[in-house]
C-alpha cells in the first residue's frame, strides 16, 4: 500500500481501522484470518474429541504392516505379504497406466471426431454430432458399467475355446476375447532387442532433423526439398534393417489355451478395458468439441489472408491455422487429461485396483484408518493436478500472444 503524505491527519484513531484505506484492508484480512482459524479450530477440536471418545489416534504405521490382500494387476512384484505401502504404490502405477492409455486414446478419438465434425460430408458430420452428444450427456459411470458388462457378460468364457470344435476361435490365432479379459501376444526381447528399439527412436530423431534441415534449406537457399517420402523411409527402413541384421531379436509370445484358462501372452483384464475405453470415448467427445471450437475460432479471415498471400491450402493449415488453433486447443485438452486422471478413480466401481481401489478401498476397510487413507489419497491426486497445472501455466505463458 502506498503512503499518502497527509500531515494534518495526525495520530491514529480506532475508527480509522474501518474508514482509512491504509488500515481497512488489514482489518478485513485480520477478520478473515480469525474466522479461518476459528473454523479450523472447531473442526480439529471435534476431531480430537471424537477420536478420544472412540479411543483412536492418527497414525501412519499401518502403511508398514502386511496388506494381506491380493491385487490382480501388478506392474511391480507384489503379494499379500507386501506392505500396505507397496499396495498403494501398485495402485498408483495402475492409476498412471489407465490414465496414460485413456489420454492417448481419447486424444486420437477426439481429434478425429472433432475434425470430422467439420467435414463437408453431411452424413459424417451428423454421425459425429450424435456421438458427441450421446457421450457427453450420459454419466461416465454408466458407460464404464456398460462396457464392463460387454466384457464380462457378452464375451465367452475361456472354456469355449476348447475342444476340436470350439464355440469360438482366436482372432488371427493371436487374440482371445474372453470374459476374463483379452489375451494378446506380448513382445519378448532377445539379445539385441533393445538395439532395434533404440534404432527406432533414433530414426524418429532423424525425421525431426530432416524437417529442420528442409526449413533451413528453404530459408538459406529458397529451395523446397521433399520431406514426406524420405520421412516415411526413415521411419521404417533403419528399424527393419536392424531387425533382420540382428537376426530377429524381438519375438512374440502368443497366448495359449491350457486347461481352463489361457497361459502366456498379455492378459488385459475386462475392468481395465472397460475403464480405458469408457474414459477414452467419453472424454474423446469433450476433446472433439474442443478441437472443433479451436479450429472454428481461427477466423475465416486468417485463411483468406493466407490465401491472398498465395499460400496453398496444406501450407495454410500447417503454417497459419494449426499453430493458432493449437494455442486454443491445448489448455482445455490438458484439463481433459486431468479429468481423465480424476475420473479413473471410478475404477473402484468395476474392481480395477488403482490407488482408489487399494488405498481408498481395501486398505481403508481392513485397517479402519479412514482419515489417514483418504488424506493420502487426496494428496496423491492433488500432487498430480498441481504439477500438471504448473506445467500448463508455463506453456500458457510461453505461447501468450505478444500484445500491448
Amino acid at each position: 500500500m502506498s503512503a499518502l503524505t497527509d500531515p494534518q491527519q495526525g495520530g491514529f484513531r480506532p475508527s480509522m481501522l474501518l474508514s482509512d484505506t491504509r488500515y481497512r484492508s488489514y482489518t478485513f484480512q485480520f477478520i478473515a484470518l480469525i474466522c479461518l482459524i476459528g473454523v479450523i479450530a472447531f473442526l480439529l477440536g471435534n476431531l480430537f474429541d471424537n477420536l478420544a471418545a472412540q479411543g483412536l489416534n492418527i497414525s501412519y504405521d499401518f502403511l508398514g504392516a502386511p496388506s494381506g490382500y491380493d491385487i490382480n494387476q501388478r506392474p511391480i512384484p507384489y503379494d499379500s505379504q507386501s506392505t500396505h505401502f507397496r499396495a498403494s504404490i501398485v495402485g498408483i502405477l495402475n492409476t498412471l497406466i489407465i490414465a496414460v492409455l485413456a489420454c492417448i486414446t481419447a486424444t486420437v478419438i477426439g481429434v478425429i471426431a472433432g475434425v470430422l465434425r467439420l467435414s463437408s460430408n453431411w452424413l459424417v458430420r451428423k454421425i459425429m454430432s450424435v456421438y458427441v452428444e450421446a457421450f457427453r450427456n450420459v454419466p461416465v459411470l454408466i458407460w464404464i458399467l456398460i462396457i464392463f458388462s460387454i466384457m464380462t457378460v457378452s464375451l465367452p468364457a475361456p472354456s469355449a475355446f476348447r475342444g476340436d470344435d470350439p464355440d469360438t476361435t482366436m482372432l488371427f490365432n493371436a487374440f482371445a476375447l474372453t470374459n476374463r479379459g483379452i489375451y494378446t501376444p506380448i513382445p519378448v526381447m532377445g539379445a539385441g532387442g533393445w538395439i532395434v528399439v533404440a534404432t527406432f527412436f533414433a530414426s524418429l530423431i532423424g525425421i525431426f532433423a530432416l524437417r529442420r534441415y528442409a526449413v533451413r534449406i528453404l530459408y538459406d537457399q529458397g529451395r523446397i526439398i521433399p520431406t514426406f517420402w524420405p520421412s516415411v523411409a526413415i521411419f521404417f527402413l533403419p528399424t527393419l534393417l536392424m531387425f533382420f541384421i540382428l537376426g530377429r531379436p524381438i519375438t512374440l509370445e502368443y497366448p495359449e489355451l491350457s486347461g481352463f484358462n489361457f497361459q502366456g501372452g498379455l492378459q488385459i483384464r475386462g475392468s481395465l478395458i472397460a475403464l480405458w475405453f469408457a474414459l477414452a470415448i467419453y472424454t474423446g467427445a469433450f476433446i472433439a468439441e474442443n478441437v472443433r471450437a479451436g479450429i472454428q475460432a481461427i477466423s475465416t479471415g486468417q485463411s483468406e489472408a493466407a490465401g491472398a498471400l498465395g499460400l496453398r491450402p496444406n501450407r495454410i493449415m500447417n503454417l497459419i491455422i494449426l499453430p493458432q488453433a493449437l494455442r486454443i486447443i491445448i489448455p482445455p485438452l490438458v484439463s481433459q487429461y486431468l479429468n481423465i486422471t480424476k475420473n479413473s478413480s471410478l475404477a473402484i466401481a468395476v474392481g480395477y485396483m488403482d490407488i482408489t481401489g487399494t488405498l481408498g478401498g481395501i486398505t481403508l476397510n481392513q485397517t479402519g484408518r479412514a482419515i489417514e487413507s483418504v488424506l493420502l489419497l487426496m494428496l496423491f491426486y492433488l500432487i498430480i493436478s498441481l504439477s500438471i497445472s504448473t506445467v500448463m501455466n508455463f506453456y500458457n505463458n510461453s505461447v501468450k500472444l505478444r500484445e500491448r
Partner: protein, 432 residues
C-alpha cells in the same frame, strides 16, 4: 488516375436493374446429395463406410427395440417370450419402474408426493429459465418451491418449512430495510432476524409435530432417479451463492482472503469427487461435533455442494475477468462502495456472461450424482447394480437397465445443454 480519363468515363445510372433469379443449376435434391455426400472420391468412401456402419448398428438395435418384451414377471419368462426374435427384455423396466424412480424404501402409497414435487419443479424453474416470457412476479413460485418440495418429499409437519420460510422472509425484509444504509448492516441484520425467527419458530414446530403433517420419510429411504434429481437440484442451488462468494474472494486484492479462496478452490478441483464422497462417508463425521447426527445424504450434499462451488467459482471468475476495467472505474467514480458496485454493476453483468458455463457445471454435477452409488447409496445406478441385478428375477438384464439409465440422463442433460445453447444465442443478440 488521371483527370482526363476519369472524365472520359463519366457515367450516371438512371435505370435500376431488376432482381433476377439465379441461374438454374441441377435439381435441388440431386445437387444436395452430390455436394454433401459424394463430392470427391474420399467423401464418397466416407459416406459408404458410414452408411454400412449405421446399417450394422441398426440391424442389431432395431430388432432389440421393436421386438422388445414389455410385460413379464421375471427374466426367464421374458426370454421365452422374446424367443429368437432378438427382442430386449424391457419388462424389467415396467416391473421395477417404481424402484428405479423412487428407490426401494420410499413408502409406495406416498409416491404421489415426490411426483407432485417433480411436476412443480418445472413451474418453479420456468420463470428463472425463461425470464423474458414469464412475468417477474412468478419468481415468487421459485422462492416458495424449496419449502414446498421439502414438505412434500420429506413430510413431517408443515410448520418446519413454514418457520424456515418465515425466517428467510424476515431476514429479507430486515435486509432490504437496512441495505440502503450499508450492505454490512443489512446483511448481518438480516441474518440476526432470520436466526431469531428460526429460534422462536423452533419451539412452535416442536410443540405441534402433527400439525398438517405428512408421513415423515427418512433421508436414507430416498433412492432411484429421485435421489439423483434431489442431489442435483439441491447441490447446484446451494453451490451458486457459495461459488459466487469464492469467485469474489479470489478476485479480491486482500492477500489473505484471496489466499484462502485460491487454496480452497484449487484443492477441491484437484481431487476427484469420489474422494470427497469418501470424506462424506467415513471421515466427515469425525469433524462434526460429538453427538451430532448428520445422516449420510446430508453429508453427501455438503461435500457435493463444496465440490460444485469450486467449479462455479472458476466460471464466475471468468465472467468477472471478462468485464472491462472501465465498469469498475465508472462505479468508483460515481462514489459507489464495494458492496454496491458488486451488487448493482459487476455481478449482474458477470453472472449473465457466466450462465452457459454455470449450466455446464450443473450438467456435469448432475451426471456426477451417479457416483454416490459407489458409497452404497441407492440412486438410479445403485438400484440397478444392487437390488435389481442382484435379484433372482432379473439377474442378467444388463443392456435394458443401463440403456434405460443412459436414456434418462441423456434426456435431462441434453435438454439442459440445448437450453444453454439457446440462451447463449439469446445473449449474443441481446442489447449489451
Amino acid at each position: 488516375m488521371s483527370d482526363t480519363h476519369a472524365q472520359s468515363v463519366a457515367y450516371v445510372r438512371d435505370t435500376v436493374i431488376p432482381q433476377a433469379p439465379p441461374p438454374a443449376l441441377e435439381a435441388g435434391a440431386v445437387k444436395w446429395v452430390r455436394t454433401n455426400l459424394f463430392s470427391g472420391w474420399f467423401n464418397s468412401i466416407l459416406t459408404v463406410v458410414t452408411l454400412y456402419l449405421v446399417y450394422l448398428l441398426l440391424s442389431v438395435a432395431l430388432p432389440w427395440i421393436v421386438n422388445g418384451v414389455w410385460r413379464a414377471s421375471d427374466i426367464r419368462e421374458c426370454r421365452e417370450l422374446a424367443g429368437a426374435s432378438g427382442g430386449g427384455c424391457f419388462a424389467v423396466i415396467t416391473d421395477r419402474w417404481e424402484q428405479l424412480i423412487f428407490g426401494f424404501k420410499y413408502p409406495s402409497d406416498q409416491y404421489w408426493r415426490p411426483t407432485f414435487a417433480f411436476v412443480m419443479l418445472f413451474g418453479a424453474i420456468a420463470p428463472v429459465l425463461f425470464s423474458k416470457v414469464f412475468p417477474r412476479q412468478l419468481l415468487v413460485l421459485t422462492a416458495l418451491y424449496p419449502f414446498l418440495a421439502f414438505y412434500l418429499i420429506w413430510g413431517g409437519t408443515i410448520l418446519i418449512p413454514l418457520v424456515a420460510m418465515a425466517g428467510i422472509a424476515a431476514g429479507y425484509v430486515v435486509y432490504s430495510r437496512l441495505v440502503a444504509r450499508s450492505f454490512a448492516t443489512g446483511f448481518f441484520g438480516g441474518i440476526v432476524a432470520a436466526v431469531l425467527v428460526w429460534w422462536l419458530g423452533g419451539f412452535v414446530a416442536a410443540e405441534e409435530p402433527r400439525f398438517l403433517a405428512l408421513d415423515p420419510v427418512a433421508s436414507r429411504d430416498m433412492g432411484g432417479f429421485m435421489l439423483n434429481l434431489i442431489l442435483g437440484v439441491v447441490c447446484v442451488s446451494l453451490s451458486l451463492p457459495l461459488g459466487i462468494m469464492l469467485a469474489l474472494g479470489r478476485q479480491s486484492h486482500l492477500p489473505v482472503v484471496k489466499g484462502i479462496c485460491v487454496v480452497f478452490i484449487e484443492f477441491i478441483r484437484g481431487v476427484p469427487l469420489i474422494t470427497l464422497l469418501f470424506v462424506a462417508n467415513v471421515v466427515l463425521a469425525y469433524f462434526l461435533p460429538p453427538g451430532s447426527n448428520f445422516d449420510l445424504i446430508l453429508r453427501v450434499i455438503i461435500m457435493i455442494t463444496l465440490f460444485a462451488s469450486a467449479y462455479i467459482a472458476e466460471v464466475v471468475r471468468g465472467g468477472l475477468a471478462a468485464l472491462e476495467k472501465g465498469q469498475y472505474e465508472a462505479a468508483d467514480s460515481l462514489g459507489l462502495d464495494y458492496a454496491q458496485a458488486m451488487r448493482l454493476i459487476i455481478l449482474p453483468q458477470a453472472l449473465k456472461i457466466s450462465i452457459p458455463g454455470i449450466v455446464n457445471v450443473a450438467v456435469g454435477l448432475f451426471k456426477d450424482t451417479t457416483l454416490v452409488s459407489v458409497i452404497s447409496m441407492f440412486d438410479l445406478v445403485g438400484m440397478i447394480r444392487g437390488p435389481i441385478l442382484a435379484s433372482t428375477d432379473w439377474n442378467g438384464v444388463y443392456w435394458e437397465l443401463f440403456g434405460f439409465a443412459a436414456l434418462l440422463f441423456f434426456v435431462v442433460c441434453y435438454g439442459i445443454s440445448q437450453y444453454s445453447q439457446w440462451l447463449e444465442r439469446q445473449l449474443a443478440t441481446d442489447h449489451r
